[in-house]
């Protein structure tokens, strides 16, 4: 992997193929430090695959992925699967796996729980928390790692409005408090407007638009791309 110091993350002609299905096709993407990039597109357009490639969970079939040497990533998944342990240990485990001593990991995990308002739930079984609380816990774990690049795969898609707002508020606070880069996928265009500075529209594994957020919502993308038009109208999930 070569490192381009100007970009926090750089994908060059990246393709990913699963058997005969081409999930990503020749994707080029540069994300600078501090940018907040939203990935939008219909189901199966390649958003999750792109996030996993960027995080190193998936190998590319072709192309190159590189990141700056000082980038520290953390990822929040769509469904926060909880291990059979307490909320505190769930967060501490993430830190321990990244090399933090267990005692220090506990202290930092508690701080992370306070940050997301779950300090009173620290000793509760993570699996008994509500869906929204579990996602806040996943955010706490990511936040505890002190990353400067956060990837989120539809972080609020499976929650009710209240939980969605809470998670989004925490994300906005996080972004405001630190120079963290965000790369997230979302079907919620309101959320994209509120959180992103730049929008990438994917269709069938290809990047069809890569625009600042204002331009994306103002330019008539749909005329040349009918599927994108339907997506922006909310008729394509």
């Amino acid at each position: 992997m070569t490192t381009d110091v100007r970009d926090a993350l750089h994908l060059r002609d990246v393709s990913v193929q699963f058997n005969t299905h081409l999930a990503l096709h020749g994707v080029n993407l540069h994300i600078k430090a501090g940018e907040r990039v939203a990935l939008v597109g219909a189901n199966g357009s390649g958003k999750s695959t792109l996030l996993r490639v960027a995080h190193g969970l998936l190998k590319v079939s072709a192309g190159q992925v590189s990141e700056a040497s000082d980038v520290k990533q953390a990822m929040v998944f769509q469904r926060p699967h909880m291990l059979r342990t307490s909320a505190l240990r769930f967060v501490a485990l993430g830190l321990w796996l990244q090399g933090t001593a267990w005692r220090e990991a506990h202290a930092r995990a508690m701080h992370a729980l306070e940050r997301v308002g779950l300090q009173d739930m620290a000793e509760r079984s993570a699996r008994t928390l509500s869906g929204g609380q579990q996602q806040r816990l996943a955010l706490a774990r990511a936040w505890g790692l002190q990353p400067n690049f956060v990837l989120l795969d539809e972080p609020t898609s499976s929650f009710d409005t209240k939980a969605k707002r809470e998670v989004e508020r925490l994300l906005a606070e996080w972004v405001a408090a630190s120079h963290v880069s965000l790369l997230f996928s979302s079907h919620n265009l309101g959320q994209v407007k509120r959180l992103a500075t730049r929008v990438i529209y994917l269709e069938a594994g290809r990047v069809l638009a890569d625009l600042p957020v204002e331009e994306f919502f103002n330019q008539p993308l749909g005329e040349s791309h009918p599927e994108a038009h339907l997506f922006l109208k909310g008729e394509l999930g």
Binding site: L57, F77, R84, L93
Partner: protein, 245 residues
């Protein structure tokens, strides 16, 4: 009917009067099966957890072989262990044939595929749910297998109980390698087979009662464990159901 009632009453007398012959057979059975289960689990849990997470060429073939071994006839295992331990066999110098050690080995070999296959399934299901998150945190496959096996510890406890149930109810292999020697290698299942053929039905039935009680107790443990897990964990994956033979 009268014969059955008489037999049942005599067997209950043997049980309640703590007949030394009967209880020595029970004790020996439990000892052999506990040792065999510990031996099989110490290897099977590790192997199963590793198989649940690792991906390598030939894994599918290995899993097919493993699943085939689940249906391995116990007399075949007995025969193979017999050939290994017989005087002209590769392990003949150990002098284990017709001893408790041979019976432990035979039961362990029989139970090992059960433990490995069920552990593999548990850990693989857990990997499907948690693997990506742990991978995202930097956990390598061996560490993921340990963490996921620990996370599935209640399901694996059920596997352990099921393995013990399989071991203690086994008859063919221990008959072949143990020889069913009175006061030495006679266990519940081999004693039941022998006493039935001899016509000493009360002793056979009394041993049958004990064996059934052990299996019943194990299934009760599995049910209690499942209920306890549902109470403490809320929603979660179901433990492996009892497969007591």
């Amino acid at each position: 009917m009268t014969t059955f009632t008489d037999t049942a009453l005599t067997s209950l007398q043997l049980l309640t009067q703590f007949d030394p012959l009967l209880w020595s057979i029970v004790g020996r059975s439990l000892w052999v099966s506990v040792l065999a289960t510990v031996l099989a689990c110490s290897l099977g849990l590790v192997l199963g957890a590793w198989l649940g997470v690792s991906r390598f060429a030939g894994r599918d073939v290995l899993l097919t072989v493993l699943n085939t071994l689940l249906a391995l006839p116990s007399v075949v295992v007995g025969l193979l262990i017999y050939l290994l331990l017989s005087r002209t066999g590769p392990l003949g110098h150990l002098g284990w044939l017709f001893s408790l050690k041979a019976m432990v080995l035979a039961q362990a070999v029989l139970v090992l595929p059960v433990v490995t296959a069920l552990t593999r399934q548990c850990v693989e299901d857990a990997e499907r749910n948690h693997g990506e998150q742990l991978q995202s945190l930097g956990a390598k496959p061996w560490l993921r297998s340990v963490l996921l096996a620990w996370d599935e510890r209640y399901a694996l406890l059920t596997v352990l109980i099921a393995a013990f149930g399989r071991a203690i109810s086994e008859v063919g292999a221990v008959m072949v390698v143990g020889g069913n020697i009175e006061g030495f290698t006679r266990v519940m299942t081999t004693a039941i087979a022998l006493e039935t053929s001899k016509g000493d039905l009360p002793l056979a039935l009394a041993l049958g009662f004990v064996l059934m009680s052990v299996v019943l107790l194990l299934n009760a443990c599995i049910s209690a464990l499942r209920r306890w897990r549902q109470r403490t964990d809320g929603a979660g994956s179901e433990p492996v159901q009892g497969v007591l033979a």
